[in-house]
Amino acid sequence: MIHFPGLEHLPALPVIIPLIAAPFTIVMRPGRTPWLWATLVSWVTFACTLLLLEVVWHGGPTEYKMGGWAAPLGITYYIDLANALVMMLVAAMAAVVFPYAYFSVKSEIARAQSPAFYTAMIICLTGLLGVAATGDAFNVFVFLEISSLSTYALVAMGARRDRRALTAAFNYLVMGTIGATFYVIGLGLLYQATGTLNMLDLHERLAGQDNKVVEAGFAFIVTGIGLKLAMVPLHLWLPNAYGFAPSAVTAFLAATATKVQIYLMVRFIYTVFGFEFPFLEVALNAFLILGIVGMFYASFVAVFRDNVKQMLAYSSVAQIGYMLLGISFGTVDGLTASFVHIFNHALIKAALFMGVGCVVLRIGSSQLTAFRGLARRMPWTTWALVLSGLSLIGVPPTVGFISKFKLMEAAFQTTTLIPPLLVVLLIGASSLLAAVYVGRLIYTMVLEQPPENAPAIKEAPHAMRVALWIMVIANIYFFFFTDLTVGVATQAAEALMCSQAGCGGAY
C-alpha cells in the first residue's frame, strides 16, 4: 500500500476533520457556501473512513493514542472492523445526504439559518463518528452528547414548516438527556468498581467481578443506550423527532444515529462485558422479547399512520427490533446479521426518507394523500420509493433480502427462550406488516389518480434525484455484491466474539 505522510493519524482524521471544519461554517455567508463546504467536508471524511476501513481490513485493528498519552490516562481510539464499518457507513450517508440537502434545506429552513444548519449537521457527523471511533467509555459520552445536542437543534429547525417540531425536539431533548444520564451513572458505577474508563481495560478488570455494583452499572448503561437507540418501550421520542425534522435531517439521522447506538450496545455487551459476565443473559433475553415486540408493535402502528414520515419512523423502530434480535441470539451469525442489517437498513431508510423529502419539496406535505397519483407527477421519485420500499420488505433483488436471509439463517441455529422455527416465522410475519404499509404507499402512488385540481409540478431537482438514485442503486448493488457487507460484518462479528477462548455462545 502507498504510504502517505500523516497516515499514522488516520484513525483520528474522520473525527478531527469535521470537528475543525464545523466552526468555520457558522461564519459563512448564508446560502450556497455553507452547503458547498459541508459537502466537501463530508466527502473528505468519507474518503478517510474508506481508507481506514481498507487499512483495518488488511492490516488488522489499529490503535491511536490521542496526543500520545498511553491508555489508562489518555484517550485511545481503538479501531477494528466493526467500528471501521460503522464509521464508513456514517460518513457515506453524510456524503450522499449533504449534497442532497441543498434544495430541501432552501425550501424548509430560513436562509439566515443555513450556516447554523450546516454547522449542526457537521457537528452531528463528528459526534457520531467519535462515538464509533473511540475506545474510551467516557469519551463515548462526550461524543454522544455532541451528536445529540446538535440533533436536538436540527430537529427544532423543522419548526418553520411545522411548529410541532419544537415540542418534538423538546421531547427528544428530555428523553435523550435521561438516556445520557443513565449512561453516565452506569459508567460511574463501573469506574468505582474498576478504576478505569478505557474499554479494553474495563474488560480485563471486570473479568470475574460479579457484584451488585457492576450489575447496576450494566443495567444503567444498557437502558441508557436503549433509550438512545429507541428500543421498544423507550422509543417514544423517535417518531415525532423524525416526523417533524427537516427532510434532510430525517434522512441522515434515520440512516446513522440509531445505527451508531446499536454498534455502541454491541461494543459494551461483547467487548466491555463479554460472555463471562453472568448477567449478560438477562439482557440478551430482554433483547429477544423486546426485539420481537418491537417488530410487531411498531410495524402495526406504522400501518395506520397517514403521515409517510411518521410511518417510516415507526418502521425504523420495528427494524431496530430486527437488529436487537440478531444481537440477542448471542452467536456470531446473529451478530453478523445485525451488522448486515445496520448497513442495509441505512441504505433503505436513507433512500426512502430522501424520496419523501423530494415529495415534501414539490408538494409541500408528507401526508399520504399528497402521494396520490405520484407516479404520473414525479415518476423518478416514485420508482425510487417503490424500489426502496420493496427493499424494506425484503424482496430480492434488493439488500433487504440479504438482511432477512442472514437473520433467518442465524435464527434457525440458535437455542433461545422461543423455538427457532417460531422466531423465523415471526420474522416472516412481521415482514408482511412491512408489506402492508409499504403496499399502502405504493398503492397510493401508483394506482390512485392525482387529485382533480392538482397543479402541474416538476420532478425534484437533479442534485436530489441523483443522490436519491445513488442510494437506490446501492440497494440493488449490495444484493449482488455482498463482500463489503456480509464479508466485513462476519469478520467484525468474529473479531468481537472470538476475542477470548474461542467463539463463545451466550447460552
Partner: protein, 504 residues
C-alpha cells in the same frame, strides 16, 4: 439446425433476450406496430433459445452457468433438466401465441397503457424462464419474486376499484407466503444440508432421516410457501387475479405464474426431497390429502360460478392440485403425471381463457347465463372452447387424457384407492361445469334477445357469423389444435421426461 450456439450460451440468451425486448418495447412506446413487432420478434428468438436448450437437454446435456455468488456458497446459477426445459419451451412458445392474442384483445378493447402491458409481459417471461432454468432454490426464489412483482401491474391494469382490491389480495398472498414460508423453508434446507442446489434423488436424504420432524416441517413450508401452486387455503389470489385483462389471465394464470408454482412444487419434491425419500416418510400424505381436497372443493366452487372467468379460475385451482397431488404421491408415475399435467393443462386452459376473451371482446358478455345461443354466431370460438374443455376433462384423443391416466396409475401404485375415486369424481365435475358452457351456447336459445341465437336451434348461422377479430380467434384455434397434436406426442414427452424418474 441447433448447432449455431452452445446450449450454455442459449440459457444465457434466453434470460437476456426478454430484457432487451423490454427495452425495445419501452423505446417503441409511440409506435404500436413496431412495439408489437418487437414483442413478437423477442418471443421468436426466446423460443429458439428454449428449443436449443430443449434439444441439448434431450441429448443428455445439462446446460447452465453460474451468474454470481452473492453469499458464500449461495449463488445465482442455472442448470437445466428435462422438466425445466419442458416448462421453458411451454412458456416461451405460448408467449408468442398469447402476444398475438394480446394484439387482438388490447387493440379491440382500446386499452390504456399498452406499452407498460407489453413491458411487464417481457419481464414476466424472463422470470418464468429463470424459474424453469434455476439450478438452486435461491435462484428459484429470486425469479419467483420477480414474477410476482412484474405481474402485479398486469393484474391491476384496469386501475379501477376492483383491480385494486384484487391486486392487493394477489400481492398480499403471493408475497406473504413466499417471504413468510418459502424463504424460511429455503434457509432451513440450506442449514440442514449445506446446499440449496437441485440434485436428482434429493439433497435431504444424506442429512436427515425420512421420518425426522424437520422433513414434515420443510414439506409443509414448501407446499404452502409456493403460493403460486394455489393449494387451499391459499388459493384466493387466483380468482382475485381475474380482474386482469383476459390475455393476462390466459397466459399468466393458466401458464406462466400458476405453472411456475406447481413446477416449483414438483421440482422441490423430485430434486430437494427425492421421490424415494418422500415415499419413505409420512410427511407427504398430509399435503396429498389437502391437494385431493382442493381438487374436489374448487371444482364444486367452480360449478357455482356464473362468471366465465371466475369459473375457469376455480377450475385452474382444481387442476393445479393434480400436479401437487402427483408430486406428493411419491411414485414415479405420479411425478410423471404431474409433469405432463403442467404442459397439457397449460395448453387446454389457455384455449379456454382466450375463448373467454374473444367472447368478451365481441359481445361484452361475462356471464355464462347470458351466453345461450352464442355458439351459433361464434362457432369457431366455441368450437375451440369445446376442444379445450374436453382436453381439461381428460377425454381422448386430447392431450389432457394422459396426465389423468398416469396419475391414476400413480395413485394405484401408492396404494391410495380412495384417490382413484377422487380423480374420477373430479372428472365428472369437470364435465358438468365445463361442457355445460358450449352446450348452452350451441343448443340453447336466448329467445331472440340481443339478436343472437335467434335462428333454429342447433343450427349454426354460417351466413351471419359474429366472430371476434382475427387476432382474437386464431390463437385459441392454434392451441386447440395443439391439444390434439400433444395427445399424439405424449409418448415422446414421456420418454423425454424419463430421466427425472431415474434415481441416482
Amino acid at each position: 439446425m441447433f448447432s449455431l450456439l452452445s446450449p450454455d450460451m442459449a440459457v444465457y440468451l434466453a434470460l437476456a433476450v426478454p430484457v432487451f425486448g423490454f427495452l425495445g418495447i419501452m423505446l417503441a412506446d409511440k409506435y404500436p406496430n413496431i412495439r408489437e413487432g418487437v414483442t413478437l420478434i423477442t418471443g421468436v428468438i426466446t423460443l429458439y433459445m428454449a428449443l436449443t436448450i430443449f434439444v441439448a437437454v434431450g441429448a443428455g446435456q445439462e446446460p447452465g452457468f453460474e451468474f454470481l455468488e452473492i453469499l458464500p456458497g449461495l449463488s445465482l446459477s442455472f442448470k437445466v433438466e428435462p422438466l425445466g426445459a419442458m416448462f421453458g419451451i411451454l412458456g416461451s412458445g405460448l408467449w408468442i401465441v398469447n402476444s398475438l392474442f394480446s394484439i387482438g384483445y388490447m387493440r379491440g378493447s382500446q386499452a390504456n397503457n399498452q406499452t407498460r402491458f407489453y413491458m411487464c409481459f417481457a419481464i414476466a417471461i424472463m422470470a418464468a424462464l429463470g424459474i424453469a432454468y434455476a439450478a438452486n432454490l435461491l435462484t428459484f426464489f429470486v425469479f419467483y419474486e420477480i414474477l410476482t412483482l412484474s405481474t402485479f401491474p398486469l393484474v391491476t391494469h384496469n386501475q379501477n376499484e376492483a383491480a385494486k382490491k384484487g391486486g392487493s389480495v394477489y400481492l398480499g398472498i403471493l408475497l406473504g407466503t413466499s417471504i413468510g414460508l418459502l424463504l424460511p423453508a429455503i434457509i432451513l434446507t440450506w442449514i440442514t444440508t449445506g446446499t440449496t442446489g437441485f440434485a436428482l434423488g434429493g439433497i435431504l436424504a444424506s442429512s436427515v432421516e425420512a421420518n425426522d420432524p424437520v422433513v414434515s416441517v420443510l414439506l409443509i413450508l414448501f407446499a404452502f410457501g409456493i403460493g403460486k401452486a394455489a393449494l387451499m387455503p391459499i388459493h384466493p389470489w387466483l380468482p382475485n387475479a381475474m380482474v386482469a385483462p383476459t390475455p393476462v389471465s390466459a397466459f399468466l394464470h393458466a401458464v406462466a405464474v400458476v405453472k411456475a408454482g406447481v413446477f416449483g412444487v414438483l421440482k422441490v419434491a423430485i430434486y430437494i426431497f427425492g421421490i424415494d425419500f418422500l415415499s419413505m416418510g409420512s410427511a407427504a400424505d398430509f399435503i396429498m390429502w389437502i391437494a385431493a381436497f382442493t381438487i374436489l372443493a374448487s371444482s364444486m366452487i367452480a360449478m357455482s360460478q356464473d362468471n366465465l372467468k371466475a369459473r375457469l379460475a376455480y377450475s385452474t385451482v382444481s387442476q393445479l392440485s393434480y400436479v401437487t397431488l402427483g408430486a406428493m404421491l411419491a411414485t414415479s408415475m405420479g411425478a410423471m403425471g404431474g409433469g405432463m399435467q403442467i404442459a397439457m393443462h397449460a395448453v387446454g386452459k389457455m384455449t379456454l381463457f382466450m375463448c373467454a376473451g374473444a367472447i368478451y371482446i365481441k359481445t361484452h358478455k361475462l356471464l355464462i347465463s347470458e351466453m345461450a345461443g352464442l355458439g351459433r354466431v361464434m362457432p369457431v370460438t366455441f368450437g375451440a372452447f369445446f376442444i379445450g374443455a374436453m382436453s381439461i376433462i381428460g377425454l381422448p384423443p386430447l392431450a389432457g387424457a394422459w396426465p389423468k391416466f398416469l396419475l391414476m396409475i400413480g395413485s394405484a401404485d401408492a396404494g391410495h384407492r380412495l384417490l382413484l375415486f377422487v380423480l374420477a369424481l373430479s372428472s365428472i365435475l369437470n364435465v358438468i361445469y365445463l361442457l355445460s358452457i358450449p352446450l348452452k351456447a350451441f343448443y340453447f336459445s336466448d329467445n331472440g334477445k340481443d339478436g343472437v341465437g335467434a335462428g333454429p336451434q342447433g343450427r349454426v348461422q354460417w351466413g351471419n357469423l359474429k366472430e371476434a377479430p382475427f387476432f382474437c380467434v386464431m390463437p385459441p384455434v392454434l392451441t386447440a389444435i395443439g391439444c390434439v397434436i400433444l395427445f399424439f406426442l405424449a409418448g415422446s414427452l414421456y420418454d423425454y421426461l424419463l430421466p427425472i424418474m431415474e434415481v441416482k
